[in-house]
Symmetry: C2
Subunit: 331 residues, 2 copies
Amino acid sequence: MPVTLKEVAERAGVSRSAVSRTFTEGASVSIKTRRKVEKAASELGYSPNALASAMTTGRTKLIGLISNNFRNPLFLEVFDLFTRSLQERGLRPLLVNLTDETDPENSLRLLRQYSVDGVIVASSTLSPEFSKAFRDAQMPVVHSFGRFASAPRVHVVGIDNVECGRMAARTLIARGYRRIAFLGGPREATSTADRRLGFFEVTREAGIEATESFATAYSFDAGRAEMLRLLQHEPAEAYFCGDDVLSVGGLAAIQSRGLSVPGDIGLIGLNDMEMAGWQNINLTTIRQPVRQIIDSSIELVVAMLDEPGRYPEARLFPCEIIERGTLRPLP
Amino acid sequence: MPVTLKEVAERAGVSRSAVSRTFTEGASVSIKTRRKVEKAASELGYSPNALASAMTTGRTKLIGLISNNFRNPLFLEVFDLFTRSLQERGLRPLLVNLTDETDPENSLRLLRQYSVDGVIVASSTLSPEFSKAFRDAQMPVVHSFGRFASAPRVHVVGIDNVECGRMAARTLIARGYRRIAFLGGPREATSTADRRLGFFEVTREAGIEATESFATAYSFDAGRAEMLRLLQHEPAEAYFCGDDVLSVGGLAAIQSRGLSVPGDIGLIGLNDMEMAGWQNINLTTIRQPVRQIIDSSIELVVAMLDEPGRYPEARLFPCEIIERGTLRPLP
DNA sequence: CCTCATTATGCAACCGGTTGCAAATTTGGC
DNA sequence: GCCAAATTTGCAACCGGTTGCATAATGAGG
């Protein structure tokens, strides 16, 4: 049984209010009382019950962290950074694993039951409507890695996926590739849709033939399977893969057919997950500024705690090409 | 402002107790009242406040999930499985990221403040004393991926790291390697110490010369750096690396020197992280039965909720060699 | 239709804190 | 040393539920 406020009060010979006040920032307590209370508290090993205090203050310092990307290596880094940054600000992450669920109903109920102060949706595949549900329920919400909208209904922090698509196309064209293609993730994923858009915008303008196909998931196996299929007919000279894991799957497929990268086929990914830098993979890719996205997301969610009606904004961070070994060099 | 019990009671024309009881399993309510309450509740969109209820029942259904392995790819899978399984049982994971902290004090205070029902320490590097602190504080605790002890002071679920070391040594010897070596993670890590022990137990018995060295972290860069160092002098014929990521780093180092694996040097890892199976890595390794470890951990922590004094036990699961391409075949 | 055993219901106290308000104490100016 | 202003303190109500206990309603049996 943990020590309670009451016991500390008795031992210190003061009222319960006095104890409560010594533990609340900026409350009015004389230095003398504070000393007595602190002494009693440390002797008893008291630490205040956050849940009980949440009942009256309405603040739990709990932040719901929702994701459906538990298999994406990039998210190791994402979870690490999120949990660390939240902790540094005295907030605790309450994790919700969506797996394949796309209906916000359950998560909403759950997070409401635990009276979380705010919600971060960390997903590049969920629709803006998903996050919107939390806003409608009056919860501060930020969609990290989410889809950009010029008039967002919730805070969105991430990258400009359309621009990434353009960037990829320009990079391939600049290296002299002409028959190029887009290998996306699942069609439903918002990120895939946007990257595709930008890619074809540039190829069209450049008057270049470009084809497309879609893997069934953002996974190694799906990328490999799709690439094996593509290799049966005449493959393109270079592929922009919607994601690094997909790229590595494609890479494996190409090499297993005895072809070389970038000799026979070029490959560019997106994310710059840690493994992309491993020399045995050495993937040329577009880097997402994960750290900035996360810092900015937390900054926004914290800001909303004090200013719940805050106008939703979209914050996009620039991506950058990381040159490694899966594209031929510039001519 | 969320709907409260009181509002539902008023709308249904019953007492607050009646409402409370319709939402608690096995409480005495007539079917008629229940109907009325359910109607009112759904009209108002009521869902009970888990925190308020926790105050009297003493159950938050919160489970602290503590880890310091946020950069280990295996833990993507680990977090995925933990969060899913907990959710399926109506429990919520409250994440604590330890980074390099090894003192339980802070985590303990934090988790006590949130009155978590139980704690899972998921780490292969933390000492048993770390978890012991939670038990001393009367919290149900399970150490997953922890160090085996014949008389454990807390529940431990994991693998027999000593046996893994033996397994690795036997595997290398069976393939005709004679000059073999152990490449461990940080010396302080309990898992490294145990794997080392088993490894040398077998080499000693077999009368085989074996050497050892230690990377500064369980990371790609550390593995690569250490292997590069080893390659400057006469390297061994085959290495047992304390971890898959370390192995991949070693692999990269070897290949960068123009040597081939398994032609010139053999390599065996441990964990069977997802990337080990990627064909561009194709690492021979020892597989940890992650799923069983996690299921068993949750089972134990749940059991302790009802039976807090339960006697601590160690549950070890057998590992298995996954043959891929970094060891020469059996003669 | 009445009695007695069961089941349902409401009252009120409680969980561990917070906070508005009024009373008590301290401080400062002269 | 006195008085008003400022600060500190405790009381008591409240947050949103749960639960033991006494009472009311229901059902079974005769």
